[in-house]
Subunit: 412 residues, 2 copies
């Protein structure tokens, strides 16, 4: 990124009519080898060299993590510096506080790079699509997870093997928890849904399930039923409530989101006027992040020229509630291991029916003569999450049910 700013100041200045000069780069170790072309006199290990320098008007933060990044950001804003950050965790957790400091000091806080890298979804929600009331956002916003799921779907690979491969390729970290458990996607959805609904959606407001419970059979059955399995981050407006969740879900194979493979990201915004608009691109990596960060820098540079006000804040106090996952109404995919004998389905479907859950399809799969068990794959018509969970607790107590292998939601 520093190399990009150094390499083409002429180009960027030409595009915007305002010069951008790189003044200082905070690093942990100034002796470490750097990309060629970065003058060593720009490097510093002392944050005060940036935060206390009145000639620095914009601070770019790509440290990641909460500490020390969040503290630096607060100090920079309080010192009247504009801020561009790629920090999803800080924006999701402390966005409102940072916005207040920015507003008070009449500076800009931009964060395009915090979600979906090279895809300009943050800017579009804040600007181009602002005429719309947003009905829903549905995103594949974690490339690591999507790479793993793509491998599991296309190579018939198990979760552990796909994860190992992703780690070997550098797509997954040695501790993959943040990605595979959906924590990273929750931060990003918090940012996107707060922008879309002009109402704070905190990370803890978002229901979350990871992908580690998925097995090869789920992909096989999903495909037979005409679905792909993707980890989706969804926020939707239901009446006066926002419902936000991150989980692996079945989506019809002909849906554009089903076609998003590998480390690619995609976000679909359904607006009251624009209809469904899908954005697809590289969600991470040095260059896509640079695209987003420098895009934000350009926007700020243009605004500095006209003494513009800070960008609109996230909230406008609309009276919206956050709805619990219990109040989700959707279709379900259930995979159970059951005793391979007559009357089993009758017992299960009676419990589901009593809970108001109507079956859309039932397939019996993979009998195991030794164990005298079979696998049952059930899809339902729309039902309430709370009813489904309650019914499944009763189903799992049935003597004929060995195990509930997986419960997935069907979207779209």
């Amino acid at each position: 990124m520093a190399a990009t700013l150094l390499a083409q100041p002429g180009t960027i200045s030409d595009k915007i009519g305002v010069p951008i000069e790189l003044k200082k780069i905070l690093v942990r170790d100034s002796g470490k080898p750097r990309a060629t072309g970065i003058p060593t006199e720009l490097l510093t290990t002392n944050p005060e060299d940036i935060l206390d320098d009145d000639d620095i008007h914009v601070v770019v933060e790509v440290i990641g993590g909460v500490t020390p990044a969040c503290g630096y950001l607060k100090r920079a804003l309080a010192a009247g510096k504009h801020v561009v950050t790629a920090n999803k965790e800080v924006m999701a957790q402390s966005g409102p506080e940072l916005f207040r400091i920015a507003e008070k000091n009449r500076v800009n806080l931009l964060f395009e790079a915090s979600v979906a890298g090279g895809i300009p979804i943050v800017g579009c929600l804040m600007n181009e699509l602002l005429a719309n009331d947003v009905f829903s956002i549905r995103g594949i916003i974690n490339g690591t997870t999507n790479y793993i799921l793509t491998q599991m779907a296309h190579q018939n690979t198990g979760f552990q093997q796909a994860l190992k491969e992703a780690q070997d390729l550098g797509y997954a970290e040695s501790d993959p928890t943040n990605d595979v458990e959906g924590i990273d996607a929750v931060y990003k959805l918090s940012i996107l849904s707060s922008l879309a609904y002009h109402h704070r959606v905190a990370p803890q407001d978002i229901y979350r399930e990871g992908i580690s419970s998925l097995e090869a059979n789920d992909f096989r059955y999903a495909k037979e039923l005409g679905y792909a399995i993707k980890s989706l981050a969804i926020a939707s407006l239901e009446g006066e409530s926002i419902q936000a969740r991150v989980y692996p879900a079945l989506i019809p194979l002909d849906n554009m989101l089903a076609k998003v493979d590998g480390v690619y990201n995609a976000v679909e915004v359904e607006g009251s006027l624009c209809g469904k608009v899908l954005f697809h691109g590289m969600g991470a990596g040095r260059e896509p992040t640079t695209s987003a960060v420098v895009g934000d820098l350009i926007e700020i540079a243009r605004r500095i020229g006209v003494q513009g006000p800070p960008p609109p804040m996230v909230q406008n106090g609309q009276p919206l509630n956050i709805r619990s996952i219990d109040d989700l109404e959707t279709r379900y995919y259930l995979r159970l291991t059951v005793a391979d004998r007559p009357g089993v389905l009758a017992q299960i479907s009676r419990i589901l029916g009593d809970g108001g859950i109507s079956l859309a399809s039932v397939i019996q799969k993979d009998s195991d003569p030794a164990e005298q068990t079979a696998e049952l794959v059930i899809t339902t018509h729309p039902a309430w999450e709370a009813s489904v969970q309650r019914a499944l607790r009763q189903v799992s107590d049935l003597e004929v049910v060995t195990r509930i292998n997986n419960i997935l939601r069907i979207e779209g």
Copy 2:
């Protein structure tokens, strides 16, 4: 659109902190029934009621066509009014002149709705993606054409029947020339490529072929070879040159653009930093147009609040050339009717070989015993357009060649 502005002034004002008031609506016939809720006192048939009213700060133009729209736009800008337009023809043909008037009068000229309706591609090229050097733009930007091609591909329908169907559904006009001959797409590509390359790409700089030469067999063979056929609008940077063209082309079935069906539009931007970013959505219609127009209105309303300068102009005088279609290097698909006897392929491939054109695949199809002819489908490795055209003139002179049925380019 007027109804949208009237219906939710509160909502939009809340979002941007600036009130927007609808003052006048120019109509041809003030007696015609209108959408409910539009006060008749807003209607006027006299353009001067708008152009000469100093209390009107922004003019929205959705008339379409060059006359009288272009004249109104010039007068509005000259009178110091900001302009939002959906007019692709005027922007493609007279954009530079309008920008000069806007700049001189320090007003904004925005035109998101002129390309791809609800997809915010114009704004993203002007703002969010500005850090990138754009390598290429590849778009499906005419919904009528894409609907016809989708029907031909999936329903095995002929061109005339698919066109008729599109007309019956209101997707195609009674005179469909502008759409099916690629004229509409040329206007839109002119706008997008001028923005992407900061250099004027006029409609007459863009090579153009329509879709009416396509036959059912082309779709059948393309599919067998692993391709879809789409009408693509492409602008690419080749060294110091821009090459821009609109034509039906084969694209690999696993390419996201191959999956854009029906009246949907899509634009893929390949940037130096962001990589390939695809935008997919509704390209036309009242509501997507309203999304774009009101988005532009919001941007202007925000800028009026801070006395901002006009947006960046299209050109920055980079020394780029426009390259002729003759200098295109790509792969080709050729479909010929030839005599069904030995040695024919040898004659054809000798001519192609002499022209430096190397064959990738040859399939003989559909022998006609009565006529003693067969159909030959040839794909090539990358070759120069001029060489291919020259060689095919020689091929068509061969006694054994009945007809060259189609020549399509293979992209991606």
